[in-house]
Amino acid sequence: MDRARRRKIFDAMTVPVLSIISGLLVAAILVLFTGESPWEAYKTLFSASFGCAELSRCALFSMLERATPLILTGLSAVVAFRSGMFSLGQEGQMMIGSIMAAWLGYVVMLPAGIHPVFVMLVAMAAGGAYGWIPGWLKVRLGVNEIISTIVMNSIAILFLEYVVNFPLRADAGATAHSHIIHETAWLPTFFPGSRWGFGFIIALAAAAAVYYFLWHSSSGYQQRMAGQAPLFARFGGIYNERIAIRSMFISGALAGLAGAIEVLGVHHRIITGFSVNLGFDGLSVAILGQVHPIGVVIVGMLIAGVRLGAQLGLQIQMGIPRELGGTVIALIILFVAAEKFFQNNIDTFRQFWERIRPKEPVGELGED
């Protein structure tokens, strides 16, 4: 790996890493107010999300299961952001994918193996179509995609509530839920005790596909150029409108896939209150992951881990409110948003280093 590339990776990692450290430090102060030791708290948090006592009682697997939808919705955001579309519609597209999966998993009879593939493809198409609408509205009518996607999230969430309360409602349980999908449509899990399974592999494959598409294919190059330099792209003969709509379709398809995997691999049905902001969390994952598939995979696991650790570790073992997990994540995002603050400090530090470093031809951090 040459120096320039190393430098680039270093630069991409500094802000997220510093943000995470700062977020943890500030949250540590909040832990002090609860009268517990922050060190113990973090130890518990991480052992409850990354630890593994035995295969059937393994927190790590639960964490990977929770990371799966975050990775996919994060990738969905990556595709949109890289193409210059600030889409916040992951939540709604995911709900549409879940609805399709719960419906087709129950009404269609197919052999195992084919069934989940069919359901996932349809869910991706449905999520993609749901993402296509705001893309089309943006290009044709100039509707701001931030607003249209947010509005469409609410529509999808309410539609899901309608669907589980009426047409897809199973029996008269204590809550409204759809029928359990046929076992032929279930995604296999790896170990008993958690729902960590094939969906995670699909998420990793999707990350690789998104990476290959955006950085190693010519249509991906068009996507990125349309996002980074629309005018340059336009003069280069790229139809920005078509690109925008295409990016929204792909983004929607990835979010729809996330919803399908939640149904096929985890819940096997949709339930009232199914939307728990996994789509919005995907946005945080994308931003903290530097809008890059590799970053998304890492950060997806981190955020899933913090959530799970806060719920199971802090709350159960230490009696610290689970909201601390959300606070840690919020603080980290806040620090990411304050990127300039770190960037300036790093620059200052670099200048300082340049001045005091021993006079050698090559510095450790390199020069600008």
Binding site: L25, I29, S37, E40, A174, T175, A176, L312, Q315, I316
Partner: protein, 357 residues
């Protein structure tokens, strides 16, 4: 430049603070470990604490168990159904003597119980299943009879001959409240109209509850029975806002809006929560269903516990009627307990229920 250095310095201070206080608090943690109880238990709540109703009632059972039994019981809050399974599995991973789940989906609960046959499970409130594995104990608190008593009170006190019910969702466990209530209203006021609104199982949305209640008050209702967890608090606020009346549920809610809440129908989830933990401590735990109801005091009126909030704060015109109403309630209660009067139970429908649908 100077500003930046200040910030860096601040960060360093944080770090130092962290290090020093961390050491001090460590010893505190160790002391806590010494008083470890002989048994431990965990309960997974369907939504966060603070509904002043169903969930808080169960939490009181946990507190009581912690103070009276040799047990260390913890509460696991969740943010809705999508987190239930992960929370339960997390609790199972910790190896508690018993894992309780409040209002958890029956299928999920039964499947977990079958997957972990060595783990004891308990459900303090009814779950809807055909039969249960040996390691899952579930209480059913029948609320139809006490809801019927509420209906009698409401039917006697209404002036507009229109009363309302705001119900969390259209399911037998919730219709058990509503149908019993409706039967009670119609018993004393046959020409009364009973409005009902279902909230689509949104138990954590006071705004929705409030809007729904206002719509019912606008339609002429003057008393509303709410069965909707935290969403029901919106109904109570609406009652205060319109200066009309509402009925509390699950916990004693008479004091939330004094003078506007006539009575509360208390569902003693705290008792069942406590009983389940106690059964593990005593070694009397057995799986399967247990039923409690009006006869056991597991479902009761706040008046039975001596609540006089409405009598003290309500309008004189209504307070004057209370002794007569109370007498009526006792009359019917005696009949019900003696088996002379049948109230519709939505969980096991009988012909009595037919006119109420």
């Amino acid at each position: 430049m100077k500003k930046r250095l200040t910030l860096i310095a601040l960060m360093l201070i944080f770090a130092v603070l962290l290090a020093s206080c961390g050491g001090a608090a460590d010893t505190g943690g160790d002391e806590g470990g010494e008083e470890a109880a002989a048994f431990n238990a965990a309960i997974v709540m369907p939504n966060p604490l603070g509904d002043r109703s169903f969930i808080d009632s169960s939490a009181r059972g946990i507190e009581q168990a912690n103070s009276e039994l040799d047990v260390d019981a913890v509460i696991v809050e969740t943010q809705g159904v999508a987190e239930h399974e992960a929370a339960l599995r997390g609790a199972i991973q910790q190896g508690y003597d018993i894992v309780l789940g409040l209002a958890i989906d029956a299928e999920l609960f039964v499947n977990l119980a079958e997957e972990f046959p060595d783990q004891k499970f308990g459900s303090p409130s009814e779950i809807f299943a055909e039969d249960l594995p040996d390691n899952l104990a579930a209480y059913t608190i029948n609320v139809h009879e006490s809801s019927f008593l509420v209906g009698l009170i409401v039917g006697s006190l209404t002036e507009t001959k229109t009363v309302g019910a705001v119900v969390g969702g259209d399911a037998p466990a919730l219709n058990q409240f509503y149908w019993g209530y409706k039967q009670g209203v119609l018993e004393v006021c046959p020409d009364c109209e009973v409005l009902v609104s279902y909230l689509g199982f949104d138990f954590a949305n006071p705004t929705l509850g409030q809007e729904t209640a206002i719509a019912q008050y606008d339609a002429g209702a003057d008393i509303i029975y709410q069965v909707a967890g935290l969403s029901g608090e919106g109904v109570l606020s609406a009652a205060a806002e319109r200066d009309l009346y509402a009925i509390g549920v699950d916990s004693n809610q008479d004091d939330i809006q004094p003078g506007n809440i006539i009575v509360s129908m208390i569902k003693r989830v705290d008792v069942t929560t406590y009983n389940l933990i106690q059964s593990v401590v005593d070694g009397t735990y057995t799986g399967g269903f247990s039923e409690l109801g009006l006869a056991d005091g597991a479902a009761a009126l706040s008046w039975d516990e001596g609540s006089t909030t409405f009598a003290d704060n309500g309008p004189a015109s209504m307070v004057d009627q209370l002794p007569a109403v109370q007498e009526l309630v006792e009359e019917y209660r005696a009949q019900i307990l003696a088996g002379e009067y049948e109230v519709c139970n939505a969980l096991v429908e009988t012909p009595v229920c037919d006119p109420l649908k």
